[in-house]
Symmetry: D3
Subunit: 66 residues, 6 copies
């Protein structure tokens, strides 16, 4: 009964990429933990870039600094 | 001090339905666990259908297959 | 495809109470949103009382003050 | 390796306020727990007011009643 | 800057399996979204079986019924 | 109505440190967003070190490599 929540910055993830993430994570849980895919849920959250911080900086400040 | 997070696919949940979910979950926590409603929070997340997967399929693929 | 996460302080919730929460939340989602119970997951997190704060106070300080 | 998720009602939080929250939470984790800011992530979720309930009421009903 | 939260029932996941999940999810995010692994965090939550419900049943009731 | 979830590796956070995190985050939300502390909840999750990964490595592998 896995539930997986993938949170990424909102930078134009395509429907094909979302489908690939869902398929890939589900396969991984089947392979590693022998989970039943029928009860495996994957939810992707796309977070606005202004709302994500790392190292005390907003995402944009962080990208400029690295 | 309960915090409840309800995540559903974004398919036109009305304000009345949201109010019913908030009231219903709060009543349940009062009834079952004798919680204080004043410190009971309920947050509803509406997830775009492209972003929810089950059984390794996107929501739309899953609906077609079932 | 709902996923519901109920977070409460860890104060001896019994298996019967957990089953009542799971059944109650699932029934609510069926009644209000016509969701399919087969794809409705409910996860209960019991949080140590030291780890929950409200009003800037730890749970125990808060109970003493109210 | 902290991950902090701040959930607030969506009422016009400015980019400057978001930056202040990210900086403030990161500084707090450095000060209190001596965490490495480079691996400290902060994610802010702005929740539509219709989707937040407290005391069995929607946010708007709650504001009217208090 | 992905953050991935994998929630599974607590049924004896080994350290090797946890490492495989962390590596697999990180590789997936690099492959599909070209994410930087250095800022990719994966957190696994092992949920007591009593605390997970599906189809209105506790995990154990669900396993008996299927 | 903020809800803040702080997730850190489980490495012996003391009750005093937890109280300091709760107080500090609540003060920050009052200062930056003028939130009401009475409806501000902070929940700290201590994650076993085996269950946290970054850069495709488990926490312990990561510490050795840096």
């Amino acid at each position: 009964m896995p539930y997986v929540n993938i949170r990424v910055t909102d930078e134009g993830v395509t429907p094909e990429q979302k489908a690939a993430l869902i398929r890939g994570v589900t396969d991984l849980l089947v392979d590693v933990l022998d989970k039943n895919p029928a009860t495996t849920h994957v939810v992707i959250d796309e977070v606005p870039v202004d709302n994500w911080g790392v190292a005390g900086l907003t995402f944009e400040e962080y990208l400029k600094a690295h």
